[in-house]
Each structure stands twice: as C-alpha cells, then as structure tokens.
C-alpha cells in the first residue's frame, strides 16, 4: 500500500484503494496522484479531497515503468511488449500506443518542453523520440536502467554502477556523450534525478544516495512566481494557497494543452448515400404502415376514410426525405 507521511514522519494516510503499488507519480498542477500496481491497474486520486478520479485496467500486464510528461500532464507507461502507452484520467483507453522497442521497455523520460521522449529497452537500445510526429530521432546503443532529462536538456542514463550524461550541443537533437561517472564497483544504481535549478544530479543506489555536479544542467534564472529556491515560510504558505486555487480539473489533461480556448474543428458530416437514404425512407414508411387503427363506432368507420388517412400518413412520413432531396438538388 502507499502511505502518506508528514514532515515529521507521522503517517497521515494509508491509501488502500491503490493496492500493491509499483510506481507513484504526482501531477503537480492537477494535484493528482497516479499509481500503477502489480496487476497493471492505473489509478488517479485527487489528493486535495481524496476521491478516486480514474481507475483503469491497462490490459498489458505488469509494468513498473511510469512517467508523467510535465508539459501536458499525461501519464505514460512502458510495457513488457515494448509498447509505450499514454493515459489521461478521463478516458479508459490509452490516448497513444507506440511500439518503441523489440524487448521490454526498461526506462522512460520526458524533456521539459514536451517534444522529446527518451526510452530504453532491454535489447540494449536507447531511442530519442519526437512526440509531435511520433518518430525516432536518434538511436543510441546502451543499456539503461534509469533515464532523466534535466531542465536544460541533458539526458542522464544510468546502468549498473555507471552514469552517462548525454547532451545535444548543436540544438539539432543529436545527443552525444558529455560526461560519464562511474561509481564504486558493486553499487547498483536505482534511479537518477536532476535537481531543478541547480547543476546537480542525484543518484540513488543500493548503498544509499550520492550527488554529482553536472555543469550546464540546471536553469540558472529562476522565476520567483513559479519556483523560488530561497522562499521564506510565508511565501511557501502563500504559494500553496494560490496553487490550490489554481488547481486544474482533470479534464484539462490533453496531448496538446494549447488547444484550450481555440476553435474546435468542424466535423465533416458524411452525407448518406442514395441507397441509404432510400432505405431510411422505406423504413419510415414501414413504421407508419404498421399503425393500429382504432375501431370507430356509430358509422364513423368508413373504409374510404381509413384509406385516405393511411395515404396521408405515408405522405407525411415521406415528406422530410423528399424535402432534403429537393434542397440537395437546388444547392
């Protein structure tokens, strides 16, 4: 079960609905906690009120590779068949399903600008994908147990006890080796993570954790209204309240977040073919013909009147289709 703890270490909540969780991810702007458990079930929970927003069966088995794309808030999972799927809390089917690797996917990372994704597979390949066209930009050889992008676009690859940092220096998405760091032999690297506004890479390994300096990886100019490394407790309290006021509803998660407020594309309605139209007309006439007549008494039940009424009803049923035809011919 996942547990939520206080700063002092007291256990606040035990989230029983999530089950036996393998990976947890937090969507910052939406205040959603996403979890994947060993049965392959993806759950979204709103941490402000505690309600479960979505609960989906991925159908692709057990996976422990899960990452949130910070640009648009979609959660992507890497599966053992080599597919990467992307999910949002409001639909039960994945948004995108990509076949990335020939073996299982071992790690996944997103660039902060939302265009690049790095995936690594157990067949010893690291691929850099363009998320706008869903195409491979670059394939690099190498194992990777863990991947992470820094704010400035440097990619950290960790395998065994060796960390390699790649960077694209020409800006053309050609990642080449920048730095490497090998730890004491025997330490197994679990996870690497770049620190947001500093040039520091944190490495979590089997004997604890350590950090190394990576020049050029952090954003040197921070914006005080977004994230202030030197904030006072008063500022932190204000920021918390304001971020709660600006909490985004889960419906705003979409692949292209700049679509909010734009004009929706008009759906082209396919005109029914002539056969279909005739079939519809026949169906309408049949429905009318199945009408049950009331037996009128006192001499009002004349067959001629019945026949006339029947004809009128059939003509009425046919009229909208004929009007449409006329309109079509006119235009």
């Amino acid at each position: 079960y996942p547990y939520i703890y206080n700063r002092d270490g007291t256990e606040l909540h035990c989230l029983k609905e999530h089950g036996a969780v393998l990976k947890l991810q937090f969507l910052r702007n939406h205040f959603l906690l996403a979890s994947i458990n060993k049965f392959g079930q993806l759950r979204y929970q709103d941490v402000t009120m505690g309600e479960i927003v979505g609960n989906f069966r991925t159908g692709l088995g057990r996976t422990d590779v899960m990452r949130v794309n910070p640009f648009n808030g979609v959660v992507s999972l890497g599966h053992s068949g080599g597919t990467v799927t992307m999910w949002k809390p409001t639909t039960a089917a994945p948004l995108i399903k990509m076949l990335c690797h020939q073996g299982p996917v071992s790690a996944l990372a997103f660039h902060p600008n939302g265009h690049l994704m790095a995936t690594s597979g157990k067949e010893c390949k690291i691929k850099i994908w363009d998320l706008r066209k869903y195409e491979v930009l670059q394939t690099l050889p190498g194992h990777a147990k863990t991947l992470d992008f820094s704010q400035k676009g440097l990619l950290a690859v960790g395998t065994g006890s060796f960390v390699q940092i790649l960077g694209d220096f020409s800006g053309s998405h050609n990642y080449s080796r920048y730095m490497g760091h090998s730890m004491v032999k025997g330490y197994q690297i679990g996870k690497v993570s770049f620190r947001p506004y500093e040039d520091v890479l944190g490495i979590g390994h089997s004997m604890g954790w350590s950090s190394i300096l990576v020049p050029g990886s952090g954003e040197p100019n921070f914006d005080s209204w977004v994230a202030n490394p030197f904030e006072t407790s008063k500022q932190r309290r204000e920021k918390e309240v304001r971020s709660l006021l600006d909490k985004l509803p889960p419906e705003t998660i979409m692949l292209n977040p700049s679509k909010i407020g734009t004009v929706r594309e008009a759906k082209k309605k396919e005109k029914p073919t002539k056969q279909e139209r005739e079939a519809e007309m026949e169906a309408a006439v049949e429905a009318v013909k199945g009408f049950v007549w009331k037996n009128k008494t006192k001499g009002r039940n004349k067959p001629s009147k019945k026949a006339k009424k029947k004809q009128e009803l059939v003509a009425k049923a046919k009229r909208p289709f004929l009007d449409q035809q006329l309109k079509g011919e006119q235009s």
Partner: protein, 464 residues
C-alpha cells in the same frame, strides 16, 4: 581546470533587513510554466464566479419627494450635485455622497417636466405643465458640508410665463441659450422674458429636446408625431426629420462621438443614429420589455443607461445590440428618468415610487474603502496591488469569455418573474413572426419579397 557550476549566494537572493521588500526575479520562458492555458482558464472561471459574488450594484435610495420623480438634471461643474423634479412641483438638490437633500425649490404649481443646469453651474432652469419657466440660484458648493440639514427653500431668480405647457428643457453645453419643448421649440436667453426664437414643423407637441455637446447650435427633438427632428439655430427653419413607426421618448447625444445620438423608443428598443445619415439606424439596441422612458450616455461615450416602463434599468454598450447589465428592485416601480454620473461610476434613476436610486455602473466594482474619521465619511482609493488584480481578472475573463462554462456564468442575470415571462413571451412571438416571414419568402417567387434590415425596418421616411 576550472569548472563553472551554478552557485547562488544567499545574500544576493534574500533581503537584508526585514523592512526591505522581498526580491523578485523573472524568467518568462514558457517551458517553466506548463499548461499555461489551462491555468488561465481556471483563473477566468474563478474570476467570473467572484464577479458574480461581488455584484451588488445598489448603493442606496434617496428619499424625500412626495410624488413620482419626473425629471433629473446633473450639474456639469460639481460631481455630487444632482437635481430632481417631481410630479407635484417639488425640485430638490441632492448631495449624492451623503444621500440627503441640500436645497429644496418649491413654487411650481403642476408637474415639473424639465430641469437643466446652465454651463457655469450657477443657474437651474426648470419648466413645467403650468406654462412657466423658472430660473433658480444654485448654492455654491462649500468644501466642508455643513452638518445641519439645509432645507432652505429659495425664491426663483426669474419666472417667465408663456402660452403653452412645457414638456422639456435643455441648456446649451457652451453658451447662454436654453431651449424648451412644448407646442413648438422655443429658444430663450437667461435675461429675456420671451423666447428669442421659435421653431415649428408640423402641429404636434415636441416631447424632448437635447443640445449637441460639440456643436452649440445643433439640437435634436422628438415629437409626438413619431419623429426625430434636427435643428440648427443659425438657420431659420428646422434642418431634418426622420419619422419612425413609434414615438421616441428621449434622446441622448454621444459625448465622445457627437454626430451620433441614441433615441429611446416606445417599441422597447433604442435606436442609434448618425445625424448625418438618418435613413438608417446605426444600431438597434434590444432588451427592454416595455417602453423605454429615458436614456443617458456615460461621459466616456462607450455605454449608455436606459430606464424603462417595465421597472428595470439597463446599461448598453454604445455599439452593442444586447444589454450588458440589468438592474431591478422589488421596490422600484416605473422608471421615468435615468442619469449617468459625471465620473462614469454611478447611475441614478428616478422612478414612480418617489425615490431616486443610486447604483454602481459596474456592479462588482470595488469602489474603495469607506472610512469614517471624526464623524466624516472618507472614501479611500484602492491599493495598487488590488487594482492590478482587478485588471488581471478582467483581462483573463475577457480572453476566455466565449467558452461555454464561463459564458454561462458571465451572462447570467436574475430577472424578476414578470420580466422573465414577458421576455420569453416576446421571444416566442418574434420567433413565430420570423418563421412565418421566412416561409412566406421561401414559398414565393425568388426576389418578390425583399427583407428589410432591422436597422431600416422601423423608419418610415426621412424628410428634409
């Protein structure tokens, strides 16, 4: 080898003393702010809801008259002074800020039909159904308002008796002349006891008169023969006339675009015209359910307020077809006159139930903190941070106001049941008429039936 890594020293990024302001740094890179549009949308939604929470437009009622208020005038030189005349001949000068009567002028025998103030703000001209025009002295405003109630009634400076009952009066914006409307349009000077000039076109009574703010010699009148006539004082005869299907109760010139004026009509619409081209209305403002009685433009020229017989006040935009705002109260009966205050923040309405009511022009505007010091009331302006927050809310709401959830909240106004029912009935009737006209056109020979645009539909003809 020297390695250059980010290193920030605490003194550069934190303040030295606790009296200093906190240091703020900016980085406008959009990559640092993901999902900006969604955040803005949520803020726009919250801003729309907050606007509705804080929308309390009614400020107060000015009580005192003993009969329905028939006309109002505003003093061009003094923001706080408003004059109102009632149906029993009582004229009062009000102090709007303290909501009390400063001065009372009695003397008219019948209803007071028109009030206007001279250019320098010293003389009040009133006219009534007792065929008299009276000139009164306006007390000079003192900086410290005296606390004791000054109900002193004054004697009129001059009383001019003429042949017929008067319906309206208006003073030139820059000049010495004023015009009265009755059986014909008369032009008066302050010192003469007889009109110096008289205009007449047709035999019907002239109901209202308004001078143009920019051209001191141009004035517009409405008459009971459903016409709107334009006059030029330098010519000996009236200039132009447009006849509509229903009569107009009142006119107001746009102070920022002085060639345009808007007429409040009996058929529940207001028509904006360009005075140079009267054959087609510039804009038709629809919204009221009953005859529109009075209209006044805001000094910004961007919106105007109308009061109607259906007990509501509406604020329209100068180029918009639907009202931006509607004000109503259970106690406010038929509204006969409305005025926009000279600083464009308040609207004053005079109605049949003997009260003048003071409203905010923008219902959810925060007008400032009111503090009471030594038993005097002071209004303090807003903190600049608050002003910026209001401006931000406005801007972000305007950006997303076309999206359905926000549009629904921003557009929503509570209407009293009779008005709601009247509006839906009207809508059904208009819809039925429109559908029938459409079908008639569709089933007749193409080109035989010509639909007239709405702006032309209510005009019968234009006469030179």
């Amino acid at each position: 080898m020297k390695v250059k890594v980010i290193s920030r020293s605490t003194d550069e990024f934190t303040r030295e003393r606790s009296q200093d302001l906190q240091r703020v740094y900016h980085n406008y890179d959009p990559n640092l702010r993901p999902q900006e549009k969604a955040v803005e949308y949520v803020r726009a939604l919250t801003a729309a809801k907050l606007e509705k929470i804080f929308a309390r437009p009614f400020i107060g009622a000015l009580d005192g008259h003993r009969d329905g208020v028939s006309c109002m005038a505003k003093n061009p030189n003094y923001l706080k002074g408003f004059f109102s005349g009632s149906m029993d001949g009582d004229i009062r000068l009000w102090d709007i800020a303290n909501r009390r009567t400063v001065c009372q002028y009695s003397g008219h025998q019948g209803a007071v039909r028109g009030l206007t103030v001279s250019t320098d703000g010293r003389i009040l001209v009133s006219c009534g159904t007792d065929c008299t025009v009276k000139l009164w002295n306006v007390p000079v405003a003192t900086l410290t308002d005296s606390d004791d109630s000054t109900d002193n009634s004054s004697e009129p400076l001059a009383v001019y008796v003429w042949k017929n009952a008067f319906w309206a009066v208006d003073h030139q914006w820059e000049g010495d002349l004023f015009a009265t409307a009755g059986a014909q349009v008369d032009i008066w000077n302050h010192n003469r006891s007889q009109p110096i000039n008289s205009f007449q076109w047709g035999t019907d009574t002239v109901i209202s008169v308004r001078f143009n703010p920019a051209e001191p010699n141009v004035l517009a009148t409405t008459a009971s023969d459903r016409s709107i006539t334009l006059y030029d004082l330098r010519m000996s005869s009236p200039a132009r006339k447009v006849i509509m299907r229903t009569k107009s109760n009142s006119i107001s010139w746009n102070p920022m675009e002085p060639m345009n004026f808007t007429a409040a009509n009996e058929d529940c619409n207001c028509y904006s015209y360009d005075s140079r081209k009267l054959d087609e209305a510039k804009c038709v403002h629809m919204g009221h359910e009953s005859a529109v009685m009075d209209i006044d433009y805001s000094p910004t020229g961007r919106e105007f307020v109308t009061g109607s017989y259906d007990r509501t006040i509406r604020i329209f935009q100068y180029n918009g077809g639907r009202s931006r705002e509607i004000y109503h109260t259970k106690r406010m009966q038929r509204v006969f006159c409305v005025k926009f205050s000279c600083d464009a923040s308040y609207v004053i309405s005079g109605s049949d139930d003997t009260n003048l009511r003071l409203w905010k022009a923008k219902a959810s505007e925060q007008l400032g903190v009111v503090s009471i010091f030594l038993s005097r009331v002071f209004a303090v302006t807003l903190h600049p941070r608050e002003q910026r927050k209001h401006a931000y809310h406005e801007a972000v709401k305007n950006r997303y106001k076309h999206l359905p959830e926000i549009k629904r909240i921003v557009r929503h106004r509570h209407l009293p049941k009779p008005i709601y029912k009247a509006a839906s009935l009207r809508r059904t009737m208009m819809e039925a008429e429109r559908r029938k006209a459409e079908r008639r056109k569709a089933h007749s020979a193409p080109g035989s039936i010509v639909t007239e645009p709405v702006r032309k539909r209510r005009i019968i003809k234009e006469v030179e």
